[in-house]
Symmetry: C2
Subunit: 339 residues, 2 copies
């Protein structure tokens, strides 16, 4: 069955420079994929004519006359950018022309516009941002990564349900009952703030496979399949981890480039260092899901490269294939009706 | 001038196995250091007689009949362990026998006992845990790392004053007016929760060198000298970073140990990898300060090695040398009297 995905072709730090080659790569990798490229019609057609080749057949261009700035306020994007590439791409999902939308644009605007256009699933107040992260044992999913600055115990339970459904679906049954950890500053029952303690009580009483509290280092140990936290903590933990990973790569490069001798060793060690790099390459994990909407929206990092944006398209395609919003809705219905 | 430091010799995961060799190493490295080793008199004397050599002259043993368990509740430690090695070591600071105390014991008990015995500086409600972290450009200090699960805008301002005084003093004047960043999920003024926004207003109006909001990745970029946050966020960010650093080392080892060929390359690359490892070695950063007390207390990681515990003793010695509590008290007095 064909999968249609709308691409905000103008979004991100590099716009068409990244979105077009990434789209063509995604079409090459997945023969049932069709892409609706949204943005400046002339610019996009020119590029597709030049670079599209055989994949042009699976490309539709949808014109949009505006762009949302990377620093634009969400309220301004909503009010003044009704014909932005971001908004028109999301409209494709609402209208049923696309099963998902992918954007590397401004996160706040993408969230506000998605919520306004697509609306939330019943019982969910705001979207949560979820992403797959590498762990020592494989990968885990963490949410919320910054969609909400504050959370209630109830919203943490909703995040857990959404994360569990996402993992269970995209793992293809390998993780049919994913374990859920609640991010806290200690494993003991006595630790943590009131909000986290109340969320723990809700999770314990739910039908989820609740593991208990996990600490910051458990994220990367692979202790659980899904790590749940509020968006303030989640965003800071994620960015701190990105920061240290970046620092580590910087120091490895620095030490191997120190002098002629170390550069020669680097040449010999290159294949090993590349395999290592591959394991934590952010491009392989690019594509965060805005969960809780009545439709699929995937946020790419603004500064990602072709490989990274292509990965975000793959994330969206997998969510379409597994009908994630419908699964979340069914689980939420059961959880909250039963309880 | 001689510096006296009390050591909770029984604390930590390995007790005397780590604290005794680390103490002797610290005495070797610093000829003006005197240590008061607190714990089981017989066990400690036996070891000092056997291993102490010429450094025995700068060791005093103070008997304590109890130990605080690593998982013991702070309230229980306070009530039932009045003759614990931890409590007696802190008493040395209160009585003026030592300028500082170092313990690798249970953090909650150390905090509660320090607060009970030493009391807080005027205007500070609870201690904050601060530690030095590696950055791309050198190091920074971050606080609070978990002493407080919640913070008020006023307490974040207090953390900033304490961090600034610590950095200014221990940098030996190199950073006389340290830059302060407030950890948030965005750099724009519009982002962040109310608590952080109100803290930003207090910091802007203070006499501190306030940089503005910083994000998780800024910690390791070296954007500022002091990163201020509440203990819940700080603890999670720190542990998440430790987790990813650990994962990265694990993957490097894994890739270099893959087969005979990669093992041979590892042999050649060893000096480079060791220099790299040295840069992020947690032992070099072990020793977190409990700031805001009327005395110096340094917390070592419970599972640290000899090198790490020795580093914690050095951190304490530097704080004694620079009379940190007095400097914090003076600055707090000025800040809160002026404002």
């Amino acid at each position: 069955m064909a999968t249609f995905i709308a691409i905000d072709a103008m979004g991100g730090d590099y716009g068409l420079e990244v979105t077009i080659p990434a789209s063509l790569q995604a079409l090459k990798d997945n023969s049932s994929l069709h892409l609706i490229l949204v943005g400046d019609q002339d610019e996009i057609s020119l590029r597709i004519q030049r670079e599209g080749g055989e994949y042009s057949k699976r490309v539709t261009i949808q014109h949009a006359s505006q762009q949302v700035g990377m620093d634009e306020l969400p309220s301004s994007a909503l009010r003044k950018k009704k014909d932005s590439s971001m908004r028109v791409a999301i409209n494709q999902v609402k209208d049923g022309a696309a099963g998902a939308c992918v954007s590397a644009g401004n996160t706040g605007a993408l969230m506000a516009t998605s919520r306004f256009v697509l609306k939330m699933l019943p019982g969910i107040d705001r979207p949560a941002i979820s992403a797959e992260l590498p762990t020592k044992l494989g990968t885990c999913y963490m949410l919320d990564l910054g969609a909400n600055i504050e959370a209630t115990p109830e919203s943490l339970l909703q995040f857990a349900v959404m994360g569990a459904e996402l993992v269970s679906a995209v793992s293809g049954g390998a993780k049919s009952n994913p374990s859920i950890g609640l991010l806290n500053i200690g494993e003991e029952e006595i630790k943590g703030n009131e909000m986290v303690k109340r969320a723990a009580a809700l999770l314990s009483a739910s039908d989820l496979n609740y593991y208990g509290f996990v600490e910051g280092d458990d994220i990367f140990k692979g202790t659980v399949d899904v790590v749940v936290c509020d968006g303030f903590v989640g965003n800071i933990a994620l960015k701190a981890s990105e920061g240290i990973a970046h620092m580590v790569s910087h120091f490895i490069k620095y030490e191997f480039k120190r002098n002629l001798l170390t550069k020669m060793v680097a040449l010999i060690a290159m294949p090993i260092l590349n395999r290592f790099k591959q394991r934590i390459d952010p491009s392989n994990y690019n594509g965060a899901s805005l969960l809780g909407l009545r439709g699929i929206v995937v946020k790419s990092h603004g500064g990602t490269d072709v490989k990274g944006f292509c990965n975000a398209i793959k994330v969206a395609a997998a969510e379409v294939e597994h009908a994630i919003p419908a699964k979340i809705e069914a689980h939420l219905h059961n959880t909250f009706i039963d309880s």
